[in-house]
């Protein structure tokens, strides 16, 4: 069942997507999103239990390349677009407690 989004749901999604959202924008956005969600809920009417999803529209398999090293970018090229660079690395502001990431 597709349900409509509450303000809190939209806040949660905005946080997931790292989009700052002011409380003043929230009602309009919430309304627009719900209108679209309401429309797409038409898909519920279709019985797709036995249907396979189309993840790749033309059936092919992943090609594989040889394990050969090619020249990387010169570091000044790699960093050229960096909004802030220090010590040949990209600088980012401090990471607060709980700003998870996922050590792999």
């Amino acid at each position: 069942m597709i349900m409509s989004l509450s303000d809190d749901d939209v806040r949660y999604v905005a946080r997931l997507a790292r989009l700052k959202m002011g409380n003043d924008e929230l009602p309009t956005i919430c309304q627009t999103l719900n209108r679209v969600l309401e429309y797409v809920s038409q898909l519920e009417a279709l019985d797709t239990a036995a249907i396979k999803p189309t993840m790749h529209v033309i059936p092919v398999s992943a090609p594989m390349r040889d394990d050969r090293v090619r020249a990387s970018l010169p570091p000044q090229e790699a960093l050229r677009n960096g909004p802030r660079v220090a010590a040949q690395m990209f600088f980012v502001p401090q990471i607060m407690d709980g700003e998870g990431g996922q050590p792999t």
């Binding site: 993840m55 992943a62 090619r70 600088f91 990471i95 407690d97 998870g100």
Partner: protein, 491 residues
């Protein structure tokens, strides 16, 4: 006190594959390069880039899966695991979610002499993240972190065990055996200190009488511990912490915990509610990975002999279990052993020399079996001289030390040090006669029945030949002359 809970442990081990280039682009994977010198538009996650799989990475992953008795799927797929973090350039990691490369494997380890089978749930392929260097001091107007993306895109496999482990000791045994097996495959450097092998441990306690799925028990996920020893310590601490909590009527919550080396404790790494909403979905930029059965078979044939088979072979050659284990766990040692025994048939002799004198000398020199100043062929030369009786055991030890010092070969050292054994009977007989003539009192003692006197006389022969006489021969010649020329009777 009877424990009221069963300990349930599952391990997730990440292993960096030692390909030359990254998983999805052709940048080098060389460790330790200057920051951001091994990056390109693809691994920087620039707009418009697309991933292309590295065949060797898949081959190495398949070999690991086969060595761990997994079923390798002919069709698997890649998915995006999404989260924002500065070390993850695309803000998603290309990984494998619900159709991994391989599943249903197992590893057998030995605990107190008994075999124990630990099931492996799955092995999948994914890309590594970059590295963050957190600034201790303030940089300009703000403190922050610096991002180096050299490691971003290096191929990894993640090996996930079933929750079959029941103690911290078992966890360590599992890791040791896993590392031993992988070391034979040549697929990774397996260096925890460089991060090419990393381990997360999931620890939960199952109350007596609990019949539900262990997956549903609340658990701690101890992340990124940097040594096997610390995995063990972290788990021990968690078991203690959780059981205390439960005894005091507390509740365990599912959480990620870090491990503090100094205190030996784990600590909660609070993460925000949405941090685990990874929004996995199939990677549209990569069609399914389809592997031909024949290609998988090819990888199977490329597998080396694995530790279990090696253990059996060593035992068949009469190597005691403990020595065998030392050889197996150090892949370089076993390689050394193999080469040496291909040249000298006496496997036990090779083993004894390797694990005593050679091991002592390479340790002292800060070498390993792979980098030993005396390679296996040179040790074989030495042992051949010993077996032929050209040198004595004592000489061999002396020569081995010289070999380590000078890098010279055993036959040359025998020559230059004049250390070869005198095996010429007439030469020894001449010395024997001199000794007998010079020690009439001792000869009398011997003739009078003091058989110990013979040892003194042998010693004198050895002394006069500066140890070069073959002791058994000196002994025999002494007796012979004492009988023939002094009328001694055999005791």
């Amino acid at each position: 006190m009877m424990p009221a809970f069963d300990v349930i442990i599952g391990l997730e081990v990440h292993v960096e594959l030692n390909t030359a280039s990254k998983l999805f682009c052709s940048c080098s994977t060389q460790f330790g390069a200057d920051p951001n010198t091994e990056t390109c538009p693809v691994c920087l996650g620039m707009p418009g880039v697309l991933p292309v799989l590295n065949r060797t990475a898949i081959a190495l992953a398949v070999r690991a899966a086969l060595a761990l008795d997994c079923q390798v799927h002919t069709i698997s797929k890649f998915d995006r695991k999404q989260y924002f973090y500065p070390d993850l350039p695309k803000a998603y990691q290309i990984s494998q979610f619900d159709q991994p490369l391989a599943e249903h494997g197992a590893l057998t380890m030995t605990e107190d002499g008994a075999a124990r089978r630990i099931r492996i749930r799955r092995i999948h392929v994914e890309e590594d993240a970059g590295k963050l260097n957190h600034l201790g001091e303030r940089l300009g107007d703000a403190s922050g972190s610096l991002v180096d993306l050299n490691r971003a895109g290096v191929p990894l496999i993640e090996i996930v065990s079933e929750p079959d482990l029941r103690s911290a000791d078992q966890a360590r045994l599992y890791l040791t055996e896993l590392k031993t097996i992988l070391s034979y495959l040549d697929i990774s450097d397996l260096r925890m200190e460089e991060g090419s092998m990393r381990c997360d441990a999931n620890v939960s306690l199952r109350p007596a009488g609990y019949t539900g799925d262990v997956e549903d028990l609340p658990r701690s996920e101890i992340k990124n511990v940097n040594s096997f020893r610390n995995v063990q310590r972290g788990i021990e601490y968690e078991i203690e912490r959780q059981s205390n909590l439960l005894r005091q009527g507390g509740r365990i919550v599912r959480e990620t915990r870090g491990f503090d080396d100094a205190s030996g404790r784990t600590y909660s790494q609070r993460s925000k509610e949405e941090a685990h909403d990874y929004r996995y979905f199939p990677e549209p930029d990569l069609p399914p990975l389809v592997l031909a059965e024949t290609w998988i078979d090819q990888q199977k044939r490329a597998l080396p002999v694995l530790p279990d088979a090696i253990r059996q072979m060593l035992r068949a050659q009469g190597i005691p279990a403990r020595e065998a284990e030392v050889l197996v766990q150090d892949r370089a040692a076993f390689g050394y052993w193999q080469e040496a025994t291909s040249l000298v048939a006496d496997a036990r002799l090779v083993t004894n020399w390797m694990l005593s004198d050679v091991a002592r000398l390479i340790n002292a020199a800060g070498q390993g079996f792979a980098s030993s100043a005396v390679p296996p062929a040179r040790l074989a030369e030495l042992l051949k001289l010993l077996l032929a009786g050209t040198i004595s055991g004592r000489m061999a030890k002396e020569i081995l030390e010289k070999m380590f010092e000078t890098g010279e070969r055993a036959p040359d050292l025998v020559q230059s040090l004049g250390l070869s054994q005198i095996t010429d009977q007439s030469a020894i007989a001449a010395v024997v006669r001199e000794v007998l003539q010079g020690n009439p009192g001792v000869v009398q003692d011997y003739l009078g029945g003091k058989s110990k006197a013979l040892a003194f006389l042998v010693g004198q022969v050895m002394k006069r030949t500066r140890g070069q006489a073959k002791p058994e021969l000196a002994n025999a010649v002494l007796k012979e002359i004492l009988e023939a020329e002094y009328g001694a009777t055999t005791p």
